[in-house]
């Protein structure tokens, strides 16, 4: 754990007022996406994540590490999803999804699962924080559109599309390139 991750956990444990904003900024949207993989719809997914965060605020748990805290977040959201699907008499869907993504069942799978989630969570956040013009172009690029199509869509030159893509990749590289940023992300 680096210094900032350590301080984040301390602030969470001390229930420091400002830390909840950071909690949202870093985890909210991704956890909603994560929940949507189970419950399909955005609204119940948001309800579930809100409940998890309120639970953290209300509860008396002390977290020992940033790693453990993240694992706890994902687990809590999964449980929330299971409860929701049970309520909707759709547990079957939950177990099918679980089977489809968690092949084996070995303990180390949890580490891989966390790695996978973190790959996307941080990436989505950094892409989201790109300067707007750059972000829009990059979003289309991610969707598989060619340079000419993107240029057409936004009424800009192909040259601009290329340079915005390059800029996005450069910024991504800078932001993902410093372990420090793990906390920021």
């Amino acid at each position: 754990m680096n210094q900032i991750e350590k301080e984040f956990i301390e602030r969470i444990n001390q229930k420091q007022v400002g830390v909840y904003r950071d909690l949202f900024r870093m985890f909210y949207r991704y956890l909603v996406l994560y929940a949507m993989r189970y419950v399909q719809l955005q609204e119940p997914a948001e309800d579930i994540v809100q409940e998890v965060f309120v639970g953290i605020w209300k509860g008396n748990r002390e977290y020992n590490s940033f790693y453990g805290f993240r694992a706890f977040l994902y687990e809590s959201v999964r449980n929330g999803c299971l409860n929701y699907l049970k309520h909707k008499k759709q547990e079957q869907r939950y177990w099918e999804y679980v089977k489809s993504i968690e092949g084996g069942g070995a303990a180390e799978n949890e580490n891989y699962a966390l790695i996978r989630e973190e790959v996307y969570r941080q990436l989505y956040q950094v892409i989201e924080e790109l300067p707007e013009g750059c972000r829009k172009v990059f979003e289309q690029h991610l969707a598989g559109k060619k340079n000419e199509e993107i240029a057409q869509l936004f009424q800009i030159s192909v040259g601009t599309v290329k340079s915005q893509k390059k800029k996005a990749v450069r910024i991504l590289r800078e932001r993902l390139g410093n372990l420090y940023l793990l906390m920021v992300l």
Binding site: Q3, I4, E7, Q16, Y20, R21, F24, R25, Y28, R29, Y30, V32, L33, M36, Q42, E46, V49, Q50, F53, V54, W57, K58, E108, N111, Y112, L114, I115, R116, E118, V119, Y120, Q122, L123, Y124, I127, E128, E129, P131, E132, G133, E139, L142, A143, G144, A168, V169, I171, L172, R173, E174, R175, L176, G177, N178, L179, Y180, L181, L182, V184
Partner: protein, 385 residues
């Protein structure tokens, strides 16, 4: 290889190209086990990024935060009423406790007068466009008319210019918020940007922001959380140097003796040396030191918490010169410092202490660590060795 490194390599692989060195590292990891190989294969195949990113983008985070704050607000009110019940019971116990505490804390004879020195607190003076001044403290709650038809809320150490349901447009002139020594204050500007002013700090800002650019002027030290607005850059002007903000959180300090220090916590800013006409782009985790004399800029990687600890109510010093430390304490406690000789100023100290603590506690710690002696008379501290 560490998880963090793997995460980063995969992220770069998903969005761009790896350098030959990075490629080797990834290949190496893949060859370590079949599980690794399968894992990477799945991630590269599933094309999750393109499918999910639009959904991610569509989620309204600000709305979610407001919902959360509303929920915990309701819970807090429940807790408060419970406290009232407890308080009634406590009143009976209190008189006994008071006697015991008073005996234990009987005043010791001191050879210095220190009752007049108190730590800083939430207070500032607001100067409106027309020149009128309004005193602000941490206790009062009021609406202040800062311009024709523009009212702002003052509450609990914070002044808020933002409006629910969209930003104000039109004209409002400039306002100035000054904390003075021993003060600190929080501010929310018209666009939602949050600023926390430290002691001896002056911020000039418009009541309503321009369409093209958001400009403020700073003398002193403040922590900024800039509201995202890619259409309008946010610029902080100080004497000789400007900070251009592309997004979010950083700390600027002009109070140090030889330089202006800017620390970027997250997001993206650049430092512009006005005279030199040069712009230096900063990365999170960096400190930019702008030399007041030569106008040159040095960038270095630092532990940002060292520079932002003040807003959490803490002084943090890492091998800091005594002169700088006492300068910071002087601004916060509103005292004057005199040195018996020049060498004392160069003594170094590292430490961590609460900002709302009495100054005596801090001076004692400094005495023990550096071997100097402080004598206090009224609001003047004399340092000798």
């Amino acid at each position: 290889m560490e998880s963090d490194e793997i995460i980063r390599l995969i992220q770069l692989r998903l969005t761009g190209e790896l350098t030959p060195e990075e490629n080797n590292k990834l290949e190496c990891w893949v060859s370590e086990s079949a599980v690794n190989r399968d894992f990477l294969h799945v991630v590269l195949q599933e094309k999750l990024l393109s499918r999910e990113y639009p959904l991610y983008h569509a989620i309204d985070e600000e709305k979610a935060i407001r919902r959360f704050e509303a929920t915990i607000g309701k819970h807090k009110r429940k807790y408060i009423s419970f406290k009232h019940i407890l308080r009634a019971a406590a009143i009976l116990v209190w008189p006994l406790v008071m006697v015991v505490v008073w005996q234990w804390n009987a005043p010791q004879p001191e050879n210095s007068v220190t009752e007049t020195i108190v730590p800083g607190s939430s207070r500032a003076v607001l100067t409106l466009a027309g020149g009128e001044q309004v005193e602000l403290t941490g206790q009062t709650e009021q609406e202040i008319l800062v311009a024709p038809e523009i009212e702002v809320r003052q509450k609990a150490g914070m002044l808020a210019y933002d409006m629910k349901g969209g930003e104000r447009i039109g004209r409002g002139g400039q306002n100035v918020l000054a904390t003075g020594r021993g003060g600190e204050y929080r501010l929310i500007l018209a666009d939602g940007t949050r600023v926390f002013l430290n002691a001896a700090t002056i911020l000039r800002y418009p009541v309503v922001f321009d369409d093209e650019v958001r400009r403020v002027q700073l003398e002193g030290e403040a922590y900024f959380e800039v509201a995202k607005d890619s259409g309008r850059p946010f610029v902080v002007e100080t004497t000789g140097m400007e900070v251009k903000v592309y997004g979010t959180s950083f700390n600027i300090n002009t109070l140090r003796i030889n330089e202006i220090q800017t620390v970027l916590v997250e997001g993206s800013i650049s430092i512009c040396s006005v005279a030199a006409g040069r712009e230096y782009r900063m990365c999170p985790g960096q400190l930019a030191r702008w030399d007041k004399i030569s106008s040159s800029v040095k960038l270095q990687e630092v532990d940002v918490s060292l520079y932002t600890a003040w807003k959490e109510g803490v002084f943090r010093f890492s091998r800091e010169r005594l002169e700088e430390i006492l300068g910071i304490l002087a601004n916060w406690y509103d005292v004057e410092v005199l040195y018996q000789n020049q060498e004392i100023k160069d003594l170094h100290f590292s430490g961590y202490m609460e900002r709302y603590e009495r100054i005596e506690t801090i001076l004692k710690a400094l005495e023990e660590a550096t071997g100097v002696h402080f004598s206090v008379w009224g609001k003047t501290i004399t340092v000798s060795k």
